[in-house]
Structures are given as C-alpha cells and as structure tokens.
Symmetry: C2
Subunit: 136 residues, 2 copies
Amino acid sequence: MKSKQIEEGLQFTPKFNAEGLIPAIAQDAETGQVLMVAWMNREALDYTIATGRGTYFSRSRKKLWKKGEESGHIQQVQQILVDCDQDCLILKVTVDAGQCHVGYQSCFYRALKPGSDKDLELIAEKTYDPEATYKK
Amino acid sequence: MKSKQIEEGLQFTPKFNAEGLIPAIAQDAETGQVLMVAWMNREALDYTIATGRGTYFSRSRKKLWKKGEESGHIQQVQQILVDCDQDCLILKVTVDAGQCHVGYQSCFYRALKPGSDKDLELIAEKTYDPEATYKK
C-alpha cells in the first residue's frame, strides 16, 4: 500500500513489526493521563476491537494478556487511535484506580527534568496495594 | 539490576532494545494530547536531557533527528517520565501548531470504535500546510 493511502486514507491497515507486534498506548479517556504502553499482536487487537476490552500480547509470558484478568484492573476501550504511518496505537480507556502492577495509577510515576543530574523523582503516590491484589 | 530496583528505585537506567532504541511518547505538557511516538538511541536521549530539545533517532534515515530541524516544529521538553520497567519514555513537551508531517497537530488524527466495522474516522483538522513547510 502506498504511503499516501496509509497516511491519508481511512482504511485501517495496522503495521505489525518483525515480531508481529504493534505498540499500544493506554490513555485515560477522561484525564488524558498515559497509563501504560504494551504490545499487541493481531489476535490481541482483533479481540480488543471485538470486545472493547483492552487486550495485549505479553512478551514475557508469550501469550494473550487480557488486562485485568489477574488484578481485576480491566480497561474499557472507548476509542482506538492510529498514527500517520499506522505503526502505533492509542487506546482511550476507562479504568478504575490502579493500572500499574507496582501499585500506581499509571506506569509513569517517575520523572526527570532536562538539565538535571539524571536522577529520577517520584511524581505519584500508590493507589492500591499490589501485594494484596496479586496474592489473592 | 534487580527488578525491584528498576521499578522502585530512583536511578535512571533506561532499557534500550536489541537495536539500541527505546520508544518515546511526545505528549503536550498543557493539553495532555499525545502528539507522536518515536524512538531514541542513547545519543538522542542524552542530547534531549542536555539541551531540553526533543531529539530522536530516525529509523528510516538511520541518524539523529532533532525534531523540527527541517519543519521548524520543535519540541521544548519540560519533563521526561519513565515507566515501571524503564523501557518506555514520555516527553512532556511545549510545541507550536503542527507536530505531524502530514499536517496535523498530532500524528493520531484517525480513530475507530470497538465493535465498529474497522474503518477509520477522521477526528482532527490540519493545522498547517506540510507542502509549504517541507518544500521551503
């Protein structure tokens, strides 16, 4: 398919990488906070589109990962956005309190400022106790 | 380095993939809109931290890409966030009108809804004329 069709067309032709995966950003549909970034294979994307439930491919476990199947922290997908060259997705999701397995609402709970000494600063507080959640 | 240190520590130890790259999400620091996703190598990340200017590694051109060097649409980086396993970054950026080379403010100008027929819908209007910009 030509570049112009991919960039300007309305046909959804997601481009998976050599491992058959495409990165997907989960973004809170209400607040705009980026919650996590994970990968999808074709099956995970089709399942997400069919069910509206955020589903990924776990690269460590090498299998379909229905987000929340263990933790209960599911994602209801309102909208799926695709970028210009169709090799990255955003899922606009509705979620409960706690999307990161470490205990925070977002996986992005640490930050640094340009020009600083490259140490991270904690920018969030935990919203749930992961030990209680995952040891159930 | 142990998983707990990577996840809970304040040492910045970004994990680059087999190609020496880490994905970076540029997010508007004011509006929360995700503007683009690109890749950084070590040099691009160090340059971004040192200068506060959003800089990536172009996989197509195989070289450092100081965002805006051709288009003028630069990114002033306010903050760099890292996720739990330190293999993905968010750059909180201040930008002008137009970050995508196709002419939109964001690369994510098309979307579909779960349960739909998988055709995309245009969800944005162009904010500048890329032909005028890139033919200068």
